[in-house]
Symmetry: C2
Subunit: 345 residues, 2 copies
DNA sequence: TTGTAGGCGTTATCAG
DNA sequence: CTGATAACGCCTACAA
């Protein structure tokens, strides 16, 4: 475990000055004779030399690194997002430092500090909803912030990449209405997240448009973490007049909700039609295969990274970008004609 | 976007020297008068000062950061592992920089270089199987390497945290044997990974112990990436005498395999009993709920981080640690008595 | 084409 | 208790 060689060691080994070594390291930062270069390269890998990122960073005053701040990697949606972001970033030679907030604003605040300290060039994040001041400070520091999946209204200046949540929820709702459902329940995320809010809006829109009443009993806003989806389902099924259809607009709660439905001995779609947000690879393997809103994760990742890196190269127009990618509606077998509709109407 | 304040700005603002500021920053690195300290603290958050990690790192010659190198975040197993590792690390005030290799030794090599440049204290990794020299160099540099989930035989000195793969495969196999199966197929990962190898070994052990012949037709070693599991299933089902049971020992191929089984119109467990490696949250929601080997992911994460950090503090005995945690066997409904067993024997 | 020297922001070592 | 000042490893003028 001898200590790492420095640029000086390489210089000595090759019999040249550090400046020359630096020049061969950063291709094109200055002229180097062919022969000299060869000697240096030789020395470099004889010593197994590797430039220290910290020193470079200090000198140059920043890194090309992207900070990726997600709420929860155990959620397959975010896991796949992370996978794609890391991939896209690497394709551009940029590293990713990953932090998770567990939906906790306190941890989020810490993470922001950390990222400032690390002097990352950009951060891609799914904000919890709080820490408005902190986010502002980060942006003021010259860090390019890109929100993905969610946004914060109080921060109208940061770039945002999301799916069209309102429209997606409308589509899902309309689908069920077309099948004759009118008692449709909706489970969404907390109202202080843009996804939670926009999806509920879409749901309401579609219901109103169809002249159907929206009963507050049937709308449930629950946290992303935990298993609240289970109890919510129980509550819904226990209603005097239970819903005939359910939309789960909270990705993280799809599994708990489904679990409870199974336990309750309710049949899908005979007793209850189900549509869920986010199509993960397992969705089609459960019985019945689930009708779902598929979020184009690669697009989300692609645009986020594109913007993040584009900004740090100042190759983007000043104006804040707000990209909405369309989600696909995938019809499978968990949604069907409302059996009650014939008799009830 | 004014530039970030430095320790000097703080010193000026507080009317003291940089040394003093440094001392209040690093609690207990030297004496500071109470009043002075107050002034400094005041100045610090008036300026929103945040020490630059790069400078510290340069000065001190290393970071407390952990490099986490996984093959594929889209695989829920690794996603959950990442989640836990990030969590455990943070609980100890350590950051994680995440890299994925996509099972590609070339990308792995790059990642190793990167990590050296970043002068991380430790790296936790699921090695692809190659790059033996590179891994050695990393270790020689004084970086604490911990392999998790898999190991490399050619590197007998690095710490390893895995589940007991051989035993787990034995248990799974024995379970099927007990149910009267003797034509049992086994899908595993490539032989150049320890998981692939050990699981096959376990399978063979159990078969031999029961005096059953192991037909090579029934053992398939396929890559972790891609959808090879589908074709493999087709091949197996197309055999003159198809197997009555299948163990999928390649976590990433569980989904493709299952998918093809469904498509083939085969009934589980009536026509085919199925046992899979790794119990993810969806496993119990598919029909029928899958009998599975559950890997204790939190234990894997916990021990990995424990070792990684322990080593960097030199608080661990010299000797290499090799931790094997036991996996649980979770019996559900995808495995059943062999219907053919009565007639065939 | 090559070399020399100064500085990036911190911490650590010594004098005051 | 506090304050100068020399590293840490690299890059970049500027000189040779």
């Amino acid at each position: 475990m001898k200590k790492a060689p420095t640029i000086r060691d390489v210089a000595a080994e090759a019999g040249v000055s550090v400046a020359v070594v630096s020049r061969v390291l950063n291709e094109g930062s200055g002229p180097v004779a062919k022969l000299t270069k060869a000697k240096v390269v030789e020395a470099i890998d004889r010593l197994g030399y590797q430039p220290r990122a910290a020193a470079r960073e200090l000198q140059h005053g920043g890194t090309a690194t992207i900070g990726l701040m997600l709420t929860d990697l155990a959620n397959p949606f975010f896991a796949r997002l992370a996978d794609r972001v890391v991939w896209e970033a690497r394709a551009r030679g940029v590293q990713v430092i990953l932090l998770t907030t567990q939906e906790d604003p306190h941890l989020e605040a810490e993470s922001i500090e950390t990222l400032i300290g690390r002097s990352v060039a950009s951060v891609i994040a799914t904000p919890t909803g709080g820490n408005v001041e902190k986010w502002k400070r980060l942006a003021t520091r010259g860090v390019n912030v890109v929100f993905v999946d969610r946004e914060i209204d109080a921060l109208p200046d940061v770039d945002v990449v999301t799916i069209s949540n309102t429209t997606s929820a409308e589509v899902a709702t309309q689908h069920l209405i077309d099948l004759g459902h009118h008692r449709i329940a909706f489970i969404s995320g907390p109202l202080n997240t843009s996804t939670g809010r926009d999806r509920v809006t879409g749901f309401r829109n579609a219901m109103n448009k169809a002249g159907l009443e929206v009963e507050n009993d049937l709308i449930h806003l629950i946290p992303f973490r935990g298993e609240a989806g289970s109890d919510t389902v129980s509550t819904l099924l226990g209603l005097p007049v239970p819903p005939t259809a359910l939309i789960v607009g909270n990705t993280a709660q799809v599994r708990p909700a489904l679990r409870r439905i199974k336990q309750s001995g309710i049949f899908v779609p005979e007793d209850l039609s189900v549509v869920v947000f986010d199509d993960n690879p397992w969705t089609e393997l459960v019985s019945p295969p689930l009708t779902a809103i598929r979020q184009p994760i690669d697009m989300l990742a692609h645009h986020s990274v594109e913007i993040a890196i584009g900004r740090s190269k100042r190759q983007l127009p000043e104006a804040r970008r707000r990209i909405q990618v369309d989600a696909d509606f995938v019809r499978r077998s968990s949604s069907a004609q409302c059996s009650a509709s014939v008799t009830t109407i």
